[in-house]
Subunit: 526 residues, 2 copies
């Protein structure tokens, strides 16, 4: 049926089910027409009322704009951008330290490129209007465009990062950093390599980034799709229910086991017995020892897939020891991750320490303490060996493993930290303002600021012919500009500039010839 | 009428014309339904044929993906990204040197935010599909979102830059750097200031950026909307034809005067006499002297608007002299610029020196030499004092002036330069590869690379248990990695690492304790 064709990456089905899709489309059109006719009537009434309002209500008939950004999106103001830049620099430095290149892809893809990649989440994709030409959708993540890029360019080896915005028509929870437009910072390694070496480096990178950003305690959960599938098999889950049961297990970080079980049994039609057996496994967490123990587990050891996964977890932990990151990594059988494309190791990093009180907005909205900005998932990823093959005309596979840093949540935390800290966030890097205390010196100010710019000094003048000295100094205090170069008749006559240190209010006369060197000396100190 | 309501920023009209819009919509729906029914039949036939092909043609019935990016868009590969990063760094440094903050806005806006801002170009806006909720469009430029941001946050003073992608359903000409998705780099100054000081700084910034990027000779054309309007008035153009005649004048950089005149007379219904008078003016170019001359012009001096514009051009040139940029700036009465929102000074920078031969693709496509990648418009902007007021509920104005750097064309030129140059573009910053010549040293390699990462050194290992030394060295030569740290049984015993300089093949043993300092010394030299 049509729904099935959409959910599965089995493209043959799309063709065979075309007639039934057409029927649904025709019905949908009929329904929209009905809706349209009703909405036409409503719109006409609204228009009349607005017209009436305009005639009565002054405002000279002007249409009132709704001044807002689209639902689930936000602007970044200069302060937020300064914080964002700092976070990006930390992350990009880490990616570069590990030898990654970077690529970029368009914000939209052909609609069919995204079809059949996201399972139940496909409904959250933003489509563009059909304005003639190709059908397009906004990218939902950076992984599918990456796979499309590899297949299209026949690339079999690359270590790349990609930082860009992605789009999901999800229910926004913006105070906790969940948006409909948000950044992803992805690092992926593609290529046929020996087991678990690139996988371990991805975890090393998460460890480095979260440590350097000083977000408080964190923990990286690790599991493997093959272990999950093996577990489902030995617990008696029918093959065709693996994916949907996996989606339910994925909710364990937000729901209690009781509720998860209820969903399995009541909604997904799993037997109570199978659910209980799953319940036992998904409560297990540990390290390499747990993997060893499960390799001896009577049921698990009979499943080939599970054994392969467990052996790889063991190997992974041995590399993680060499990378010195086992302190934060936990093998956790409850970790599932929703996306369809994972085939091996999966992982997710969570902040465990509520370093900061929840935002005022959050408690107003009745958010529970688990949902405060300081706690929750901040990175995730895994191995997806089949995705590139879905794009290759001959189905050639390129094994891939990667991680995505959930940067919006990190921004939220850093913003709160900045809010709470006494230190002011500077939004410009201006080193010196060229000012004057007297009138008619605009030309002299422009001449001097030109000299400074030529020397690579970050400098400003106020765009007034005769600004007040006080307002020039105030501008510096507010913006954190450390120095003021003050020109006056006397200074011009003497061939000097009065250099004022904003924080101490100290003033010294510096000869024009020495000014640039003196500014550089003073600002490199800081 | 409905068309008029769309083209003019007069929102009252939208309400009053609603019923007629509804009629057109209903007709459009009817037409689409007819089209739909036809396309349903076609689709059914196509589906049948595909089904038949799948049954006959092997390929096990798999749907063949079209592996491409959407029309008019492109991926950036790592080499292109390295060039892009360099260009961005130059531009951002300049913006920061001039004291700018930065902001970001969502990639889409409410559709009504963009309505009535772009005149005849509105048809190029990408709309999102109505999936329930708000009607959205992809941003067409960064200026309108900036104005929306100012009005929404009641900001009356800001100097900001914004670098982001914008979207236009235009006819792509990708070999010449014209895309449907492309970057804009905008710098704008908002605030009530003394005349022409911020305007002059915008031109100074264009001058600095184009000089630093070393793109060859360039010229910055300057004009003023008030001079254009005044000129149209004194030439006898009817008021209601100002904008459309302005659009035609704007084509003078691509069309001959004869063709422009034809369009004015035949398509826009202007009298031949008026067109000829315009023709005389738009052939004029000069500097401050031309502004002075036109202030004495019998016809021009009678028009208040023209006089105000001409006086401001004079003042502008006096500031440009202090900024030392008059060598490249030309007052050119043929410069019009298409967008509706400009109210004062306008400018455009063009590259005048075809520093490079046109791309092979270009000549294949029969592009004329004027359209080679080395020549053409690379920056533009102007003053738009009314735009923010269009968003403010009370119509409060915030005067603005800004410039947009046409970065895609610059990328194209830099790419060609890199292509032509002998120097290799590095796509990573790796300083050292940790390698081994012998088997079974994976653990030792991982241990050493962990040490290097901890010390902030950019380092790599190959993801193989036993890679060949040759393939490790080859990787370094290809990627421009300057150093290799080679481990072997003997080195481990001696507590040293063999450090190899890739370019010279020189090798020295360095004690483990000194390794980090040695790598830092050698890579900071380079």
């Amino acid at each position: 049926d049509a729904a099935g064709a959409q959910a599965h990456p089995c493209f043959g089905a799309v063709i065979f089910s075309r007639p039934s899709i057409l029927q649904s489309v025709a019905e949908a059109v009929k329904e929209s027409l009905d809706n349209f006719l009703v909405s036409v009537q409503i719109d006409e009434e609204v228009a009349k009322l607005l017209q009436l309002k305009a005639q009565l209500g002054g405002e000279d008939g002007k249409h009132q704009f709704v001044l807002k950004t689209p639902k689930g999106t936000r602007d970044y103001n200069p302060k937020q951008m300064a914080i964002r830049e700092k976070v990006f620099n930390t992350i990009i430095s880490c990616f570069k330290r590990h030898g990654a290149e970077t690529i970029d892809t368009p914000v939209f893809e052909l609609k069919e490129t995204l079809t059949g990649k996201y399972g139940e989440d496909s409904k959250l994709i933003y489509d563009l209007k059909d304005q003639g030409g190709e059908l397009l959708s906004l990218r939902y993540d950076l992984t599918v465009p990456f796979a499309r890029y590899l297949a299209m360019n026949k690339i079999t080896n690359i270590k790349r990062y990609h930082i860009a915005k992605v789009y999901r028509r999800d229910n926004p929870a913006m105070t906790r950093g969940r948006y409909r437009e948000f950044y992803q910072c992805d690092f992926d390694i593609a290529g046929q390599y020996d087991a678990m070496i690139p996988d371990a480096e991805c975890l090393k990178i998460v460890h480095e980034i979260l440590s350097e950003l000083q977000l408080g305690e964190f923990c990286i959960k690790v599991n493997d799709r093959r272990i999950l599938d093996g577990m489902f098999a030995v617990c008696g889950v029918p093959d065709e229910k693996f994916r949907t049961i996996c989606s339910t297990v994925d909710k364990l970080d937000k729901m209690s086991w009781e509720d998860v079980k209820k969903e399995m049994v009541n909604e997904k039609g799993l037997s109570e017995e199978a659910a209980d057996q799953i319940g036992e496994y998904v409560s297990m967490r540990g390290g390499m020892d747990l993997a060893e123990r499960l390799l001896q587990d009577q049921k698990m050891c009979q499943n080939k897939q599970a054994c392969a996964g467990l052996s790889d977890i063991k190997l992974l932990f041995s590399y993680l020891q060499l990378f010195q990151v086992t302190d934060k990594v936990v093998f956790d059988l409850s970790l599932a991750r929703g996306l369809d494309y994972y085939t091996g190791v999966i992982y997710e990093a969570v902040l465990t320490q509520a370093g900061l009180p929840p935002l005022a907005n959050d408690s107003q909205n009745g958010a529970s303490s688990e949902e405060s900005a300081g706690v929750g998932s901040v990175a995730g990823g895994g191995r997806y060996d089949g995705l590139v093959g879905m794009f290759d005309p001959k189905g050639r596979k390129v094994p891939c493993v990667g991680v995505s840093i959930g940067i919006e949540r990190i921004f939220s935390i850093m913003e709160q930290k900045a809010e709470a800290s006494a230190e002011k966030v500077r939004t410009t890097e201006v080193q010196v303002m060229v000012a004057s205390a007297q009138k008619n010196l605009l030309e002299e100010r422009l001449r001097l600021v030109t000299e400074l710019w030529s020397a690579g000094i970050k400098a400003e003048v106020m765009y007034k012919k005769n600004p007040k000295l006080l307002s020039q100094l105030q501008h510096c205090e507010e913006g954190g500009v450390p120095l003021v170069a003050i020109l006056g008749e006397q200074e011009l006559k003497d061939g000097v500039v009065k250099l004022r240190v904003v924080s101490t209010r100290e003033e010294v006369d510096i000869s024009r010839a020495d000014l640039i060197a003196e500014i550089k000396r003073r600002t490199s100190e800081a």
